[in-house]
């Protein structure tokens, strides 16, 4: 029998809640969220760092959580789709996606919400080009993106009020 792989202790804050865990080094961030913390709002799409369905914020930077090791979140703060709504009220980004019909099947939506969150934190008043660049890492196979662009622009407008 080979020696067992030592587990690694990590501390992470997810949506404001602190967690201390011991994990396998090969655990991916998305699986930490979904399998160990039961936060299944973050979806696995392609599982190859292409589609962006698994996008979350790690220390304020959007990442594809299927391609980040959970150990890299050690000491860090994570924001997932579950952390957007406050006190039962949808986040303005979420509300904009609802109002503008910025989704159909909804599978890509959690990732798009977080990419929009990242975009608007850097460009509160994004140009159309900045919107396109900001969500270029998120694939939607239903909408054709037009309503997503409208939703991002509506969210930006709501955020400026």
């Amino acid at each position: 029998m080979p020696d067992p792989i030592p587990r690694v202790p990590i501390r992470v804050t997810v949506n404001g809640t602190r967690h201390e865990l011991e994990i396998e080094p090969r655990l991916l961030l998305v699986d930490l969220l979904r399998e160990q913390l039961d936060l299944t709002g973050t979806h696995v799409g392609c599982d190859t760092s292409y589609c962006g369905a698994c996008t979350v914020l790690l220390n304020g930077a959007s990442v594809k959580s299927c391609t980040v090791l959970a150990v890299h979140a050690n000491g860090g703060e994570i924001l997932t789709v579950e952390g957007l709504a406050k006190n039962g009220e949808l986040h303005p980004i979420q509300q904009a996606f609802v109002d503008q019909l910025g989704l159909q099947c909804g599978y890509c939506t959690p990732g798009l919400l977080l990419s929009t969150y990242q975009l608007l934190s850097k460009h509160p008043n994004p140009s159309e080009k900045e919107v396109r660049i900001g969500i270029a890492g998120n694939t939607c196979r239903c909408t054709g993106y037009q309503n997503i662009f409208k939703a991002v622009q509506a969210a930006a407008k709501a955020g400026r009020k």
Partner: protein, 298 residues
């Protein structure tokens, strides 16, 4: 998909990472941003027994101006370079950093990881070969410096020894009246380009080209510097005839492989188009114009 199990080692300094690599031997791999290595591990195309993680090493991520050069720490994320006003002093660096993959991948992927992986489709190699770029490495025998052209040996092969790592990349600020541009053709944002071209020009006061550096990406085992294309411009006026000669020489120097991204002829055509457009943008920048360039998408 899960990677095979591996033992995790967090390095706290470059020297500690070197020591760990020396002790652990061939079954150990360095982990920087992980945007290539983690997918390879998930597909089980790579199954290292040990990973030595650089992500928690302080002082490996910075972009600084020092005298006539910009020094970039190997762990700098593409997004750090994209956002750096210092890196903006050489516009082609911004073209490259801001065009790699998508926001999420730029937030994680690193300059050092990209160069050390030496993927034939990587962006940084082509761009930095058009500038005077040196790299500083650290290994069991200490530090050494070399020109980037000596560092990039072949596809997926660099001059790094088994327990050596890339520490810093230094780019000389080009002389006055210089300008560069980097353009790629991509099927969509997250993927590697199908073809890319980097052009860095230095003009005399007139429209004559004092120096020209050209590199072609994704159309050879490493980035290709087409010497004949450079000669067609160097010391010559930037006339349509000379530009045509440079473009044709670049097309001839490209050595692409046919694959899912296109045939040999298609890629030669693309790379010629990209060289032509990059020469035009580089020349305008060299004359002091502000020019935004962006990649082309299928």
């Amino acid at each position: 998909m899960y990677p095979n199990a591996f033992q995790y080692h967090q390095a706290h300094s470059a020297e500690e990472a070197v020591r760990l690599l020396s002790e652990l031997g061939e079954d150990a791999k360095l982990l920087a941003g992980g945007q290539s290595l983690v997918p390879l591990m998930k597909l089980r195309l790579a199954s290292p027994a040990h990973l030595v993680d650089l992500n928690f090493v302080p002082d490996l991520a910075y972009v600084r101006r020092e005298k006539g050069a910009i020094r970039i720490g190997a762990l700098s994320r593409h997004a750090d370079i994209e956002a750096s006003p210092v890196a903006r002093q050489i516009p082609i660096l911004y073209d490259c950093a801001s065009g790699i993959a998508d926001v999420q991948i730029r937030n994680r992927g690193t300059l050092g990881g990209s160069l050390a992986e030496a993927d034939p489709s990587g962006d940084w190699g082509a761009v930095l070969l058009t500038l005077n770029t040196t790299v500083r490495t650290v290994g069991p025998q200490g530090e050494r410096s070399m020109a980037l052209s000596d560092f990039l040996v072949d596809a997926y092969t660099t001059a790094l020894g088994p327990a050596e790592l890339l520490r810093e990349v230094t780019v000389e600020i080009p002389p006055k009246n210089s300008g560069g541009a980097y353009l790629a053709f991509k099927r969509c944002a997250p993927v590697y380009p199908t073809a890319s071209a980097a052009v860095q020009l230095t003009l005399d006061d007139s429209a004559t080209c004092r120096d020209a550096r050209i590199a072609l990406g994704c159309v050879g085992l490493t980035a290709i510097c087409p010497a004949e294309a450079e000669r067609a411009l160097r010391g010559q006026p930037l006339t349509p005839k000379n530009i045509d000669a440079a473009v044709e020489a670049a097309r001839a120097a490209a050595d692409p492989q046919p694959d899912i991204r296109g045939s040999v002829e298609y890629k030669r055509h693309l790379v010629a188009m990209l060289v032509r457009k990059a020469i035009a943008s580089a020349a305008r920048r060299a004359r002091g114009e502000r020019v935004e360039v962006s990649h082309f998408y299928a």
